[in-house]
Assembly symmetry: D2
Homo-oligomer: 319 residues x 4
């Protein structure tokens, strides 16, 4: 059996993400009407949205900006002490930025970046969502009524960062934040092309993939989860009917074995609607490594992903 | 093999149903928001609605009235000649009422009643649905965009008439209209308790069941179809969240093997959301007969239907 | 409204298909273990198989032969008289071959070919399937226990003939057999590239597509139906796990809007597992025509079919 | 926000369960053929089985015995140190039994009972499953080929202990083993009728419910998971077709919002096939409490559970 190593378990989950959009109205309409999310608050240039099943107050902060891309990734710790431990570790790494009083819905926050420059915010204190009467669910173990609108996405599932330095970023998320490497795709020389990392029992909460354009700190996609593979297919029908560009039609990933459909929201950010995937419960899960040879086989059923999957990210650049 | 009998094949399908409601606004909101249907026209006390996949211009005519219940059943023939043949046969049976110029969306119409007094209208000439730009589907072999709202019902699937005379009604629909008896539930004496009849390849388009109160000409339910058993479960979640009374929670019928959920729409009419069921293609299908002994086993998986299923109909009566 | 034309309605449904295979044992194992069908009889070089929900005694006659391909297509008429009417019409067309006493499970049979040479057999008298005790279902309106094995296919859904003369074949099936043209793909000159035809309420029972190699009378594929899109995905997982070549991974067709997965069975014949699709109930359905421009968009969600889809058929030829 | 309390996180997951059966052959056939599990080993009176997706070497140890019931619950710790910490805490509680060298597939094991006498075993060292060639999956991030047989259960999901002392047992699992109370049903006096506890991100891994007969240490049920609600319905069809007693037909629980079907395996133990449910990621989830008043509403959609659900357990007793 594998050598035992005491895990860092200070981060509870991926709580929210901030996305930037040059088309705030169209992007908002997309997330509301087609994804089925609720806008619960807006201030300055931002609107805060949630899926009907999100545990966080919100899982998406949508902010008007000149270019599409990632604002920041919001992580919640297991405790105030855990937050301090992570902040100190990052401080020592030189990637720390510093503390703030927080943002809408959460308290004291530590801000930093990963090796490639993606902004990350950590906090513990968080406000719980209380549904207004019109959205109060009949069963109180759910946060909100089921959203029977558009793709009816349940919650934020995972995000994928586009990186010029997958090894460096992957090391940061593992060593400073306690994420574990569930799967990886490597080059013949052994450097990472994609890293799948998890901090919950989900097989991944975060993916980091190589930006073949070599640009630093871009965003690849955010994935919102639905309850079945059938709902992924339905989401594709809805996107088709409403003129949303489908970059990759519904199919199944090898890593995590999740069903997916990939589209570009009107602001340009790549969005995934996903379902399925497996849980990892074992403390001694051994990282699954996919070689270039194995990756040649394509997706789970042998079909390929479009070439843009390895070059398109936000902000959009002109090669 | 069974004796060959040349079938009457003059009726093409169940085109629409008219339901009466004492609560027109609440009923309309139910069919629009929770069932996901579109209101395409209104005149006088009626609103005409369709499911996104209905071939008919509309499958539901919702009419304000003092009491809930059936307005009429609308059937479409295969041809003008077929319409005349059926009208003449009914004329001879003494159940005919006569011809009219038709109603919104269809032409020359012959009106009659079945043995128990349920109103039936037959016509051939029908206007096709043309979706407005906002509902135009991206794939033109569908009549309309997929309705990603509420239960997103596809189309009218079948209706169930409540009858004091199942044998008489069943004979009328078979002999005068060419429906075939796919399944039946009988008493120990052999009279029908429920008759399931089909005129298309669906295992039933019409059910006629015994009204234990002995009242004549009442309505049992109308069933709208969704694309999977999962969507029936989802419909139940939506009804629950919106305070709609669920008379029978999702389960599976023996006859037709359809998944169902039964609710009362705000006006009081029983509505089913269903999926599945099988097709009957053979010309020599032998009617399946269910004895009282066999029916004691309950639904497909052994659970019972509520007692109200055999006594509650519209108009609602006080025993 | 469209001009009315009295339809020929003499053919009830596509009852079975005979497939030839140079690898009878491997093909049999594929249909039994991976498709989940039952072998109910064998004689000479043939094994007769059925899906758990097939109304026919069998839907597949698998026959050992030097090369893969189509043996014949088996159609059942609505009546003995309908059989004679069709036989006479075909006789007059010069494509008739003649009468035989029939084959395992069915009586008096008329054999002919379509314009491109695909063999077709028509009959009315057919033996019903009686499940042996081990396969007797608990609900007697099903022919057989649900086959919880492999892809658990329900029944034969449709077939696709590969043709050097789509216009000619399509005319034959419409004029001599009463099939109706639900959809078609045409060239800029208006000749058919693919014709989708139906004789039941299913949107198609038969497809005829252009063999770009120009070869006459080849076979494209047979499609077996499962109960949901989820089961199509599951079928792909099973094929993948058992080393079956997946030519086209699960996706959605434009015509008929069916979910599909395409594989080659060990003998080389292309097999589809499908679900969904819509019914056509209207007597005046207007054929949907897809132009080359529209077809450029690919499948329903925009992904393409592999090029082999237009050139690979059985028997396999060397270009 | 809620007061922060540093959680015990020493137990990784529910690894397996031992069930006793007086009908070993019939029980084995049930789990193999109808549940779709693999028997990977047998020694003395026990057979060891796994679902195709189980992370543990096996999730079920099936042991011949005079009466049905629970053998023991197997839990895996996060580390050797965590195992020692839990053993010491239990030792102090007076419920410890002692250490053994372990059992097939796992090492050094600490045995104890909970307050009501259910046997529990803790260990860290565990052998990984290596699929034989015939079961090797094509995608190596799965432990085994998908089992396309019977209900095709994925893995052990949770267990439910029947207890005369729900408060006591619930306190034991929380305080000694670090499980957290996600939901509870209480009496008007506030004592627990059912406790739902989780140690992973699943909303529950363990339920403890009141044995109304007052018997100590009985077993209520073990639940095996499938990938969708549709597969729960399919499982019910399979059980029906094979004469397995269905105690509760497919429906939806309020707690955890899981779809279920409950049957008695031939040895008498209650088995659930379940799907769905939600994850709990927040460190400050507040226990959901269901009052008797709220429980009166029945299951999620308002239908009741059979009365036997509160009295039938194994070993079976005569009231």
């Amino acid at each position: 059996m594998t050598e035992f190593k005491e895990p860092i378990r200070d981060i509870a989950y991926l709580a929210h993400i901030e996305l930037l959009t040059p088309k705030p109205d169209e992007s908002l309409a997309f997330f509301r009407e087609l994804m089925g999310m609720e806008a619960i608050h807006s201030e300055r240039q931002s609107v805060f949205l949630r899926g009907w099943g999100d545990e966080s107050l919100y899982s998406l902060k949508l902010t008007e900006a000149k270019h599409a891309g990632l604002g920041h990734v919001g992580l919640r710790s297991f405790s105030p002490a855990a937050l301090d431990r992570r902040a100190q570790a990052i401080e020592r790494s030189g990637l720390g930025i510093g503390w703030s009083d927080g943002d809408y819905g959460h308290g004291k926050t530590y801000r930093c970046t990963d090796a490639d420059g993606h902004a990350v915010e950590l906090y513990y204190e968080a406000e719980k969502y209380v549904a207004p009467p019109s959205l109060k669910p009949s069963l109180k173990n759910l946060p909100q009524k089921y959203a029977a609108r558009g793709a009816s996405v349940t919650s934020l599932d995972h995000i994928n960062l586009f990186s010029s330095n997958v090894d460096g970023d992957s090391a940061f998320w593992q060593e400073k934040l306690g994420f574990r490497l569930s799967e990886q795709a490597i080059t013949d020389q052994g450097s990472k092309v994609t890293a799948w990392l998890h901090v919950t029992n989900k097989s991944y909460d975060l993916a980091i993939s190589l930006d073949k354009t070599g640009t630093k700190g871009r965003f690849h996609h955010a994935a919102f989860k639905v309850e079945s593979s059938e709902m992924v297919l339905r989401a594709a029908d809805i996107f088709l009917d409403h003129g949303i560009f489908i970059e990759a039609s519904p199919s199944k990933h090898v890593a995590g074995q999740t069903m997916f459909v990939y589209v570009y929201e009107p602001g340009g950010n790549r969005i995934e609607v996903c379902s399925g995937g497996f849980l990892i419960l074992s403390p001694d899960w051994e990282t699954i490594t996919w070689t270039p040879q194995e990756r040649k086989k394509g997706l789970a059923w042998g079909n390929p992903l479009p070439a843009t999957f390895h070059t398109y990210g936000t902000p959009v650049i002109n090669p």
